[in-house]
Amino acid sequence: MPIPSGIAGRGSVLSDTGSSVHSDASHIAIRSSDIKRHFRRGEYTVRAVDGITLDVHSGELVGIVGTSGSGKTTLLNLVGGLDTPTDGHLEVMGQRLDALDSRGLALYRRSVIGIVFQSFQLLPAQTAFENVALPLVLQNVARRERRSLVETALERVSLIDRMDHLPSELSAGQQQRVAIARALVKQPRLLLADEPTGNLDSRTSVEILGLLQRLNHEQQLTVVLVSHDETAVEQIADRVLRIEDGRLVAGGSP
């Protein structure tokens, strides 16, 4: 998928697999050490993530690619604190996620990360403004401050003029931009995007990927992007991690 000039990628960096050596721990956004996520399905054990070790530096835009069922979304869920590893050590922005309880994980999700989903996950009865404001509501941000933050986030995704629209009144691309604004509004240190272009046409996909890249560039925001579209990811990501059968087969080291 071609990326328009001006937002074109810095080129993909495919690195060696295996355990990584970290030169500067203070700039490490994500550090995992042999993390596993296994599921019991009757007599079988599904090894969705099976011993992944990696480092992601602050300000990096890292793409995770792999076939369907390879474990990339499970890895993203672990990093996002939506799921907990069966085994291993996982540290994000200095927080040991494998040691947090349910409440600790919720507070982590509330304050540290922003997530963008494939299916946008906008509340249909709420306007774009209200959808974007939702994380701030959970953070008990005062209403006046909330308005200014939401407007800034919507401006960043060029949707300030559509803030009173319901999701059903917006195009798919606009809906995903609202979802990105929602992820950005609380000024997260890490943005996780799970197949953000999965429900979009190719032109809109380019637009959304370009937006993610711009955010990464302009704000030095660490972005982890999961996608099955390897070509598109390679064009914008600093580094591409390839996962197969729950294992990292490429890109583990920066």
Binding site: S102, Y108, I115, Q121
Partner: protein, 448 residues
């Protein structure tokens, strides 16, 4: 999440399913309405019956005797004196307590000498008895507590003082003397008797005692006087404050006068009036705990009390069944909401909502339904109670009975109804709320 956001979120969600929310709230309203209307009619009936019973002093009276006086069994019992009366008056549920004092003596008026009993009666009690029609004020007025020279005489005593043709009213404002026989040392400060009276007392065999004279003015004439009506033969009434100081050195009755037995420091009998019939049992227990013997006709009215408890219980139960059904509707509504909104719950959790946040959101929705149902239910209950009252009164009139207000809608019923609606909805909402809180965000976002 701050409370205001919690409520706007809840309202927004309830608005999305307006019909379902309305029907659920209507269910709660029906339950609360049924319960409050039943309790309202029950309370109204109870109020009417109690009002009738409370007007009967016999039912709200506890007659207190000191065990010492009553049984003459040992000296360790507390004396039934002024201090004891103060204690009795201070007991919860007690309206008033006062010694029952009847002083035998001579009423000297218009040249007549009548042997009469002077009873001390609290001014408020005499007024209330007249108000309730138990005592008829034939002429004049009643007295105030501080009118120490005021005297109210019975129509019967007045008749004895006057020839048939003269109306009793002529006795009003007339000064009379009441002579009480007392032991000599106790009448200090009282006006000395005239020689004529001393001689008169001597004629009656009272010579060895000191007659004490009370100069009184007749202010009123009544029919049916006395705490328990006319049957005790009381013919003269004065404020208890007038009679009480004479009590200790006086004689209980004619027999005591002849044997020289004075009443002494304690009272023979103290009457305790409770605030209502329902308080009698507790007050009686408290009086007995103070060491006195207390008698009431509680046993006879215990059945009435039991009947009220059973009646209110049954009525509330009928309403309670409706409310139970309403609670099930709330559970159903919210469980459906959890299922329909699993994806939304997953999103909230992905954005950082804790389990407690999600629980609170659903409980708020349940609470809003409960409050809306509660307010509606109170209105409905009032309406039903009023309609029932109107229909009942039409029937009463048809059979020649007087109209009565069967409905009581006191503030405790309204507040209680609302609190109950809220409590029931929160209890009903607890399971769906916890179920929502347990939603796994990964599963919710993947499958819904």
């Amino acid at each position: 999440m701050i409370l205001r956001d919690q409520f706007s979120y809840a309202f927004a969600n309830l608005r999305k399913t307006r019909l379902r929310t309305f029907l659920t709230a209507a269910g709660v309203a029906t339950g609360i309405g049924a319960m409050t209307s039943m309790v309202s009619i029950g309370s109204g009936t109870q109020r009417n019956v109690l009002r009738t019973l409370n007007e009967q002093y016999v039912l709200t009276s506890i007659m207190v005797r000191s065990v010492h006086n009553a049984e003459r069994s040992g000296d360790s019992q507390p004396p039934l004196d002024t201090s004891a009366v103060r204690k009795l008056r201070a007991l919860p549920g007690v309206r008033d307590a006062f010694p029952v004092i009847g002083l035998p003596g001579l009423l000297v008026a218009r040249g007549e000498r009548l042997f009469q009993n002077l009873e001390g009666m609290p001014a408020w009690l005499l007024d209330e008895q007249i108000e309730r029609g138990r005592v008829e004020l034939v002429a004049g007025r009643t007295y105030a507590a501080d009118e120490t020279t005021a005297l109210v005489v019975s129509e019967r005593a007045a008749d004895r003082l006057l020839p048939d043709s003269i109306p009793a009213e002529v006795l009003l404002d007339e000064s009379v003397t009441f002579v009480v026989a007392q032991v000599p040392d106790s009448a200090q400060g009282m006006e000395p008797p005239s020689e004529v009276l001393v001689a008169g007392a001597a004629q009656l065999g009272l010579g060895r005692f000191r007659p004490t004279m009370l100069s009184l003015t007749i202010v009123g004439i009544v029919k049916g006087a006395g705490t328990f009506g006319d049957f005790v033969g009381v013919s003269l009434l004065a404020p208890i404050e007038t009679v009480e100081p004479l009590h200790s050195a006086s004689f209980r009755d004619l027999g005591a006068l002849l044997t020289g037995e004075v009443q002494g420091g304690g009272y023979q009998l103290v009457q305790v009036l409770t605030e209502d019939v329902m308080a009698v049992a507790q007050v009686q227990d408290n009086v007995e705990a103070l060491g006195f013997r207390a008698q009431s006709i509680l046993d006879e009215i215990a059945e009435v009390r039991r009947a009220f408890v059973i009646m209110n219980g049954l009525l509330a139960m009928i309403g309670g069944v409706s409310l139970f059904v309403a609670a099930m509707m709330i559970v159903n509504t919210l469980v459906m909401a959890v299922l329909e909104r699993t994806s939304e719950i997953g999103l909230l959790k992905a954005l950082g909502a804790t389990d407690a946040d999600v629980t609170r959101l659903f409980l708020t929705e349940a609470g809003v339904i409960g409050i809306a149902g509660g307010v509606g239910g109170l209105g409905l209950g009032y309406l039903v109670a009023r309609v029932t009252n109107a229909i009942a009164n039409i029937q009463f009139e048809r059979v020649g009975e007087v109209r009565v207000d069967l409905v009581a809608f006191p503030s405790w019923l309204m507040l209680g109804g609302l609190a109950f609606a809220l409590s029931v909805s929160l209890v009903a909402g607890w399971y769906p709320a916890r179920r929502a809180a347990r939603v796994d965000p990964v599963v919710a976002l993947r499958h819904y």
